[in-house]
């Protein structure tokens, strides 16, 4: 069983991300179950998608401390979702900052992540924005997760699903974002200390 949470701010594409992941898992012969935040929170509030992949799954919701992987599209949302992460779980966060009304200090938030997350990878949103555009940030993070072996499927499996879901232009855009995320993650893993960090490093 793989438990994946996707955290973000309403409008960042968490629903699409969870649909892509769950469809790919289904294509690979797994059962999937999950839940979305749909409704008022989509207007710029905190949103959380639950994705569970495996043979036999009962609950659509993941309990705190049970997520194998968290994909966070925003820094503060990454910190908010920490409590869901397993002790040895992987947090792939993006350093994009969308300030809520009360505001926060991005550096302090990054410190919380660094001191709390078991395995942490922080991707630079500016690099993603320049190469793929911020709209494709969700798919880029999925690519990074694939590169870390976090999902029960490969980047190639997901590319096939993307081909069936989008027209040629959007399919090309999403696939290049997927590959870019994969490259970012691989580069991060090679540069020790800069990319994925272990809590006990």
């Amino acid at each position: 069983m793989t438990n994946c949470l996707i955290a973000g701010v309403g409008g960042q594409g968490t629903v699409l991300a969870s649909r892509l992941i769950s469809s790919t898992a289904l294509e690979c012969g797994l059962n999937v179950r999950g839940a979305e935040t749909i409704g008022m929170a989509q207007r710029g509030g905190s949103v959380l998608s639950h994705v569970r992949m495996g043979k036999s799954i009962a609950s659509p919701l993941i309990s705190p401390g049970q997520a194998d992987i968290v994909l966070a599209f925003e820094l503060c949302e990454a910190a908010r979702t920490l409590r869901y992460l397993k002790a040895d779980g992987l947090m792939i966060a993006c350093d994009r900052v969308i300030q809520p009304a009360s505001g926060y200090d991005p550096a302090a938030m990054l410190d919380i992540l660094r001191s709390s997350a078991g395995r942490l990878m922080v991707l630079q949103s500016e690099a993603i924005a320049e190469t793929c555009g911020l709209r494709a940030l969700n798919v880029a993070l999925i690519g990074a997760a694939c590169a870390c072996g976090a999902f029960p499927f490969s980047v190639g499996d997901m590319e096939r699903v993307i081909d069936t879901r989008f027209d040629a232009e959007r399919s090309k855009m999403n696939k290049s974002a997927l590959r870019f995320g994969e490259t970012l993650a691989s580069a991060g893993r090679n540069r020790r200390g800069n990319g994925e960090r272990h809590g006990d490093d």
Binding site: R43, G45, G103
Partner: protein, 605 residues
């Protein structure tokens, strides 16, 4: 095998299509809206779908279709059922010919609703059968059972998923269509279809007999089940049943399990479940429906089994259940709490850091921000009360706009403003209402105000869509759910024809013009209306212009723009305001606020 990942609402829609639904109607409301949208998107020959103007209309159209022998589906959220309750209560006494399923989505939490009402209780009150699915795949087949039940009993049936069924998803195996009888058309029979006290009395007896029959029949229904053994039992229903199953597998202590997914309660199965049990824990959301039934059954059977749930304080009386909450309750109940701690504890669990809240906000580029701000500026220093309504613009209550003093239910803003003004005639009473809400239940309130001479200012926030629920069309948009062109009804003309003579329309993004319009209305008397026009920013990309920017050399750092508008694209970075280029749509609303003219760019509208 044809498996697909489906959201619960998609599964319900495809299940209804599979069951031969002919007419599908509803009014948007989270978490129910995607059912009709899916039926429309599938666009199968012979299936008609529409967004009706409100839930009452939808239910009555469904009733007509079902009287003519068609299978009808009516969808709404739980508070929509309150609007539709008048026809539904009476329709049960008349009955239907074609199967009629009223899908009412409940919202434990609540996540996007005004109430935590339980439609299972409404079913008991209205003497209707209720089907309560626990998952998307169960909902997919159960909706066909609901249609069959409706045709067998000749009465409408309620189908009650909750948010975590509607908006969860699962791999669902798609099945072949069921056999459904074909429409026979309406047969005149005034003794059957015209409600009179005598008929009501006779049919009341039939209804009660039918419910007794169902209570027995549902003990054999596949949606209700019993398993396990022991002297302790856990009863559940809805999505909580899945939480129970998950924890049951992990805790590994044998006990009896009962799943109930119907009203009326499957009494025979319930009695069998209670046999030999000392204690029962009930895990359900909203009202203690299963709990009460079990307590009653104990009394009826004269047994001493202790029933623990919401009534006994063992389960929370409000809010939604969670898998870990149900697991904790089960561990306490089974006495495994200390021996079996939840595995995989989070690192952060020990001392969770304080994370700032992120409540929903009006989008960057939302026309409502302009409308609220104009009214706020124009009424500064005056005694004024702002009545709101249901929609995105309810978010206008948040700081810094702080422009909503009341919000009750669909259409209530216009009428509550009349009551408020009656008591405090020296106040200015504004009523904010969205375009879709105006058509839903706003119009009668305007008629009342004109007829009875109330002094209110109606602010129609016309963004050309039903925004909060995902952008559904309505009578003012010139489009239907099926994508056909329709006559575009003008809110201006409607207000005019009602007799609202003091009527203005204004561009919501034009702050100066908007303020002037409000000031003018404040000086007039009677029923006045201002229609603030501005398309919803989520409707299309064409609404997005070039982003505004802050010239940091000119910005004085006064933060007025940030503090006054509450636009999510605006924030303060160091000593300068900052505009997030990805969020900003270039509406330019912030530009006139800046004394040093530091905000540049954007598109002029």
């Amino acid at each position: 095998m044809n498996r697909k990942v489906l959201m619960g609402n998609e599964a319900i829609a495809l299940g209804a299509i599979r069951a031969g639904v002919g007419v599908a109607l509803g009014y948007p409301g989270t978490p129910s809206s995607e059912v009709l949208e899916t039926i429309a998107r599938e666009n199968k020959p012979g299936i008609y779908a529409e967004w009706s103007v409100n839930e009452k209309s939808a239910l009555e159209i469904g009733a007509g279709a079902a009287m003519a022998g068609e299978r009808a589906l009516v969808t709404m959220k739980q508070v929509g059922l309150n609007v539709a309750s008048d026809p539904l209560m009476s329709l049960n006494y008349l009955g239907v010919k074609g199967g009629m399923v009223v899908m009412v989505a409940d919202d434990p939490g609540p996540i996007s609703s005004q109430t935590e009402q339980d439609t299972r209780c409404f079913g008991q009150y209205a003497k209707l059968a209720v089907f309560d699915p626990s998952s998307p795949e169960e909902a997919y087949t159960m909706i066909a059972d609901a249609f069959e039940c409706s045709e067998e009993t000749g009465r409408p049936v309620l189908f009650r998923p909750t948010t975590r069924v509607c908006h969860s998803y699962a791999s669902v195996e798609l099945l072949d269509a069921t056999d459904s009888s074909k429409t026979c058309g309406f047969e005149r029979d005034s003794g059957r279809w015209v409600i009179f006290p005598r008929l009501t009395y006779a049919n009341h007896i039939e209804i009660e007999r039918g419910l007794r029959g169902l209570a027995d029949k549902f003990s054999d229904y596949r949606g209700n089940e019993m398993r396990g053994s022991g002297r302790r039992g856990i009863a559940s229903g809805g999505v909580s049943w899945l939480y129970v199953l998950e924890a049951y597998g992990e805790i590994g202590v044998e006990c009896k399990l009962l799943k109930v997914s119907t009203v009326p309660f499957p009494a025979r199965m319930g009695a069998e479940f209670l046999q030999g049990l000392d204690e029962v824990l009930v895990a359900e959301e909203l009202d203690p429906v299963i709990e009460r039934e079990l307590i009653m059954l104990c009394g009826k059977l004269g047994i001493q089994t202790r029933i623990m749930g919401k009534l006994s304080g063992h389960m929370p009386c409000a809010g939604e259940n969670t898998p870990d909450g149900v697991r904790q309750a089960m561990e306490n109940f089974l006495g495994t709490g200390e021996n079996c701690p939840p595995d995989g504890k989070s690192h952060a669990a020990a001392a969770p850091p304080a994370i700032p809240l992120r409540p929903p906000v009006l989008c960057a580029g939302c026309p409502h921000r302009g409308s609220f701000f104009a009214v706020k500026e124009a009424t500064r220093g005056r005694k004024a009360v702002f009545s709101g309504d249901i929609g995105c613009y309810t978010l206008g209550n948040a700081l810094p706009l702080d422009m909503l003093d009341t919000c009750l239910c669909m259409g209530a803003g216009i009428t509550m403003a009349q009551g408020l003004h009656r008591v405090e005639p020296d106040a200015l009473d504004f009523a904010f209402i969205g375009d879709s809400t105006f058509f839903h239940t706003g119009i009668p309130g305007v008629i009342n105000a004109v007829y009875n001479g109330h002094e209110i200012i109606i602010a129609v926030l016309d963004n050309s869509t039903t925004a909060m629920t995902g952008g559904q069309p309505h009578p003012g948009t010139g489009k239907t759910l099926m994508g056909r062109d329709a006559p575009r009804m003008s809110i201006y003309d409607i207000l005019k024809s009602i007799g609202v003579d003091d009527l203005q329309r204004v561009n919501a993004f034009d702050l100066a013009a908007s303020k002037a319009a409000v000031t003018r209305a404040m000086e007039a008397r009677g029923v006045r209306a201002i229609i603030f026009e501005g398309e919803c920013i989520t409707l299309s990309k064409k609404n997005r212009g070039n982003a505004c920017m802050v010239d940091e050399h000119l910005c004085s750092g006064c933060s007025l723009c940030v503090r006054k508008l509450g636009c999510p694209a605006l924030s303060l970075r160091g000593k300068s305001a900052r505009i997030d280029a990805d969020s900003c749509t270039g509406c330019g609303l912030c530009k006139p606020l800046c004394a040093t003219r530091a905000i540049i760019g954007g598109d002029d509208r």
